[in-house]
């Protein structure tokens, strides 16, 4: 009874119970009832997401250290990083909105990327590190609230609006953000939570549940 637990999956959308043990590697399992994608049985379940996460975290750090935009308005030249824009918005604009912006464009994406990186490292090195489980729970809860990709679109819109007022040069931070968004998208599509949890269990001497 206990062994069957992990090959069973319940569709999140329609509650159909199904056995996924026969899905070959590299194939996507769809729900037999509603056709929603259940998960992909990827060939490299750990290495690929881990590599993408490392790239993501590097891009994230670069995007936040280096200036995103260089503006010249009325002869005044300014360089701004993401953090500086947030601080400026806090003091000059609306503090409540600034908190929302900082959470969704900095705290949540950063938290998700680094905690997933930590979890994948723990699995890759077969170490039973602290907090892996709670970090995984938190990051999967916060993933829908990480909106750095939306922020990138907003930068593009803002740049088009600014072109008429100032001369704008896109900085290193902007390139890093583009890199982050591309790798982040690839990363999210390669992460399979249900496989990840199974691996985490194997890591802890194959814990079994009823």
């Amino acid at each position: 009874m206990k062994e069957n637990n992990k090959t069973l999956i319940v569709c999140h959308a329609c509650d159909a119970l199904q056995d996924v043990s026969h899905i070959p590697k590299g194939n996507i399992a769809s729900c037999i009832c509603c056709g929603i994608r259940l998960f992909k049985n990827t060939k490299s379940t750990i290495e690929r997401p881990l590599a993408l996460l490392i790239a993501c975290s590097i891009f994230f750090v670069v995007a936040n250290i280096y200036p995103v935009l260089q503006l010249t308005i009325a002869g005044i030249e300014r360089e701004t990083t993401l953090i500086e824009t947030a601080i400026m918005f806090y003091s000059e604009g609306s503090p409540v909105l600034a908190v929302v912006v900082v959470l969704t464009s900095f705290v949540f994406p950063g938290f998700c990327v680094f905690s997933l990186l930590y979890v994948y490292m723990a699995i890759y090195f077969k170490k039973n590190w602290y907090f892996t489980r709670s970090l995984l729970v938190w990051s999967s809860q916060l993933l829908p609230w990480a909106m750095l990709d939306v922020y990138l679109l907003a930068i593009l819109v803002a740049v088009v609006k600014l072109v008429s007022l100032a001369s704008v040069i896109l900085g290193i931070g902007f390139s890093a953000m583009v890199g982050f968004v591309i790798f982040y998208a690839a990363c999210i599509s390669s992460i399979e939570m249900h496989v990840l949890w199974t691996k985490l269990d194997e890591n802890c001497c194959g814990t079994q549940y009823e």
Binding site: M1, N4, N5, T7, L8, I9, V10, H12, A13, C14, D15, A16, L17, Q18, D19, H22, C33, C34, G35, I36, I73, A74, I76, T80, T85, A86, M88, F89, E92, G93, S94, L97, V101, S105, R133, S134, L136, V137, S140, Q141, P144, W145, M147, V150, Y151, L153, A154, I155, V157, A158, V160, K161, L162, A166, M193, H194, W197, D201, Y209, E210
Partner: protein, 215 residues
């Protein structure tokens, strides 16, 4: 549990709830819930229910509040531009019209669809799904499920306008010469987007499939 697996292998659809099973929505672990209504997941320690608790009531409450917030978000000014003693307030729609007038129609399309169309479509589609659950409508359940998945995915893109206002506010601060301040619609808009996201999370698509078994 053995028999359950064999039956589902024969392509006969079994609902987990009918055989007393439920899966954790965080880690997908399938556990026997039996007569209990809720328990803690032994693997990730989050709550497991057969269905999300008070799903319909919570979704309605959040959806109606989101719709109420949608009105000031579109009628009030989202951005106040000022400089040299003059001040002009822009709503989302007037911003879009300005872009069309200056010929930036791709930009107008992005702003219009992300901040006017998408939230409205999302509110309408979740309201539609809720009404369908109330009436026990049986038709096109697959399409309805797909609609839910899409509505949940697109929600966050509405935030683009808030980010644009945040960026412009912080970048254009030249004292009396030129400044941009977020208008009252900014907060209403952000609250609206967050509420629609919570409403989508509160809705349980499994309810769309429940009625067929009871009849």
């Amino acid at each position: 549990m053995k028999t359950v697996v064999e039956r589902s292998m024969n392509n006969k659809i079994i609902r987990a709830k009918n055989v007393g099973l439920a899966s954790c929505h965080i880690c997908d672990l399938v556990i026997e819930l039996g007569d209990n209504d809720a328990t803690c997941c032994p693997r990730c320690n989050s709550k497991i229910h057969y269905r999300k608790h008070n799903s319909i009531n919570r979704a309605w409450a959040l959806l109606i509040s989101a719709f109420i917030m949608y009105i000031p978000a579109n009628t009030e000014a989202i951005m106040v531009t000022g400089g040299l003693g003059q001040e002009s307030a822009d709503t989302i729609i007037s911003g879009v019209i300005y872009f069309i007038a200056t010929g930036d129609w791709p930009l107008a399309l992005v702003i219009f669809s992300a901040s006017v169309l998408l939230p409205l479509l999302k509110i309408i589609s979740i309201a539609y799904l809720l009404i369908m659950v109330h009436r026990g409508n049986e038709l096109r359940k697959k399409e309805k499920t797909r609609l839910y998945v899409i509505a949940e995915l697109i929600g966050k893109w509405s935030m683009v306008d808030i980010f644009v206002v945040a960026l412009l506010t912080s970048l254009i601060q030249l004292g009396e010469l030129s400044y941009i301040v977020p208008g009252p619609a900014g907060l209403a808009f952000a609250i609206m987007v967050i509420l629609t996201m919570f409403a989508a999370m509160a809705f349980d698509p499994k309810l769309l499939w429940d009625k067929s078994e009871e009849k």
